[in-house]
């Protein structure tokens, strides 16, 4: 009786501790999540509340006019050509992601399976190239692209982002390929598969989750990149969302609500993609720890 009592108390104590821990985590996560809520709320509140003093915390009502202003066809919101940015960003990100994924997957497989002259060095060299800050790469590209007629062109941006995404894609993909036992390749070759067939028929289908993860990383990198774009895009011909948002913030009259609306639009593709591929993303980030 007595001992049973003690056990019940300690169990309740443990339960309370658990709950306190839960609450602490919820609070911490809410602190990290709150800025997102604030941006979304601001984009939907009536204009007068944004600069109100004393501050208004909860919007009195939700309105959509900041979004409809952005999406009005032909409309230039506060000198920001929203549609051009959207078109350029989507086009550049999708194309460079597709290219980097193709090229990076091939290279990743090669580095995961074969040793050839200078293969190790090339691999490390590519990773070093990735760590060069965008601003440093953008300077010579600015001059070279001007000479090659690639400045302020979508094609030039696709090239740069493809090259920028290749090292990390290669790194991720070679990790995913290493997860597949080499014995599968060997078995396929004994059965008469060529090396190329072993890659296409055996390995590629098995790395679809890896492809998804690498694709998201490449897409997010291109979608969010600012440093290179800010130097080699000059006009709405090729300016991307991040550059557009930067221009937006440099105006004399600050349209905080409009900027928040633009931010929300910019966030949508990223959020959708990340939510869909969450699991693969986490695996992609951590596989390197095992290898």
């Amino acid at each position: 009786m007595y001992s049973a009592n003690i056990r019940r108390v300690s169990r309740r104590e443990r339960k309370i501790k658990r709950e306190l821990l839960n609450i602490l985590v919820y609070v911490l996560v809410i602190i990290f999540f709150l800025p997102v809520v604030w941006i979304v709320l601001t984009s939907m509140r009536p204009e007068v509340e944004v600069n109100a003093r004393p501050p208004v915390w909860i919007p009195s009502r939700l309105v959509w006019d900041s979004f409809t202003t952005l999406f009005q066809p032909g409309h230039v919101a506060g000198s920001v050509p929203f549609y051009s940015y959207l078109r350029n960003s989507l086009f550049i990100s999708l194309f460079s992601t597709a290219l980097a994924l193709t090229v990076g997957t091939l290279a990743g497989y090669s580095f995961s399976r074969f040793r050839f002259a200078a293969s190790g060095q090339s691999f490390i060299g590519m990773m070093m190239a990735r760590s060069i800050p965008g601003i440093s790469v953008s300077l010579p590209l600015f001059l070279l692209f001007a000479r090659a007629g690639l400045i302020d062109r979508i094609g030039g941006m696709v090239l740069v982002y493809t090259a920028m995404n290749i090292p990390f894609t290669t790194w991720l993909m070679q990790g995913f390929f290493k997860d597949i036992p080499v014995t599968l390749d060997e078995a396929a070759q004994i059965d008469g598969c060529s090396r190329w067939q072993a890659f296409v028929r055996i390995n590629l289908p098995l790395t679809l989750p890896g492809l998804a993860a690498s694709g998201i990383f490449a897409f997010l990198t291109s979608w969010n990149e600012f440093q290179i774009a800010s130097v080699i895009t000059r006009t709405p011909n090729s300016k991307t969302f991040p550059v557009g948002l930067y221009d937006f913030t440099q105006q004399f009259t600050m349209d905080w609500r409009g900027m928040c609306a633009m931010s929300v639009v910019m966030l949508v593709p990223a959020v959708v993609f990340v939510l869909i591929t969450q699991k693969q993303l986490i695996r992609g980030l951590t596989f390197g720890a095992f290898k």
Binding site: F32, V50, P55, M126, P140, M164, S194, W196
Partner: protein
């Protein structure tokens, strides 16, 4: 399962084409053919421009007077080392990155440990913490510029609610408060990434060492210090390596929040590179500066890759 069926399929098709043991030129050279497009693109778009950039850094190229360009050797580098603004940007960067990475690491490990133990809503919590990872650095910069704005900023508004008095505190103008503001933005932006990697690491840890330690009466801290921490070291270094590949991302924050100013007070090596080369048109000097940013990145990456290799050997 699927691999077996595709294998037998492959067999029936390829046996006729290539006799065993003798492969076509394409398949013999496959390793290099597969790696070549990637290597070529990186060389053409990144490596060759960087070599050209190094040449430029040895000249006095000014974009306004390209005709007067002369070869000046290492003068640009010497000039930078005598430049007080350069040293200010250098120390700002070292302090900034030093504090940022350490805080992100400790906070990340702490939060991962807590989140790992949550028994209700762990999935939602993990998804919610990923939100900052979807933000473009420019977006983070804009958001925090607005939070720390002296007139309409969230921070000053909260202070108003607490104190009942409206004060216009120029967070982004005064010296250390502007660096601290950018630091908070950077920590907000990058900590969730560490949390996610560390949580994945904690999930993968074997349970036997902890059971053994519990039997031996090890305290919570001892278990963390002598079991969790060493076993986690590959994850710690992988997080650091990926983080260090993107050190220069802080540029976006600084550029949008303060532009490096006022009067170079929040200058970093990356913003100073942009200022010299693009704003001031002094391309030779700017490219020289850019190689200092490259050197800083390389030092971090090489060190961390070495640590990663070492930690893998120790654990496995």
């Amino acid at each position: 399962m699927t691999d077996l069926s595709s294998m037998s399929q492959a067999k029936s098709i390829s046996v006729a084409k290539t006799p065993a043991g003798r492969e076509s030129f394409f398949n013999r050279r496959l390793p290099i053919i597969m790696a070549l497009p990637a290597i070529a693109l990186v060389v053409v778009i990144i490596v060759i421009p960087m070599i050209y950039s190094f040449y430029l850094s040895l000249t006095n190229l000014n974009l306004l007077r390209p005709a007067q360009t002369q070869f000046v050797g290492f003068d640009n580098y010497m000039r930078l080392f005598r430049d007080s603004v350069f040293w200010r940007s250098f120390f700002n960067t070292v302090i900034f990155m030093g504090v940022a990475v350490n805080v992100q690491f400790v906070l990340g490990l702490f939060m991962a440990q807590l989140m790992f133990r949550v028994n209700r809503g762990q999935g939602i919590v993990r998804t919610a913490i990923m939100a900052p990872m979807m933000f473009a650095p420019v977006l983070v910069g804009f958001q925090f510029k607005w939070f720390f704005h002296d007139q309409v900023g969230l921070v000053n508004n909260i202070l108003y609610e607490i104190t009942g008095r409206y004060q216009v505190i120029p967070w982004l103008v005064d010296y250390p408060s502007n660096l601290i503001s950018i630091l908070i933005a950077e920590i907000w932006m990058s900590t969730p990434f560490m949390v996610i990697v560390f949580m994945a690491g904690l999930v993968s840890l074997p349970s036997e060492p902890f059971e053994a330690a519990a039997v031996d009466g090890a305290s919570g801290w001892q278990q963390f210090r002598f079991i969790t921490f060493p076993l986690m070291s590959p994850f710690i270094y992988i997080a650091m390596v990926i983080r260090s590949l993107d050190l220069g991302r802080a540029y976006d924050l600084v550029r949008i929040m303060t532009g490096g100013g006022p009067a170079h007070r929040s200058e970093m090596i990356w913003t100073y590179t942009f200022r010299l080369a693009i704003t001031n048109n002094r391309f030779g000097l700017g490219t020289a500066m850019s190689f200092i940013t490259v050197a800083v990145s390389f030092v971090f990456v090489i060190y961390l890759f070495k640590q990663l290799a070492k930690s893998r050997q120790e654990v496995y």
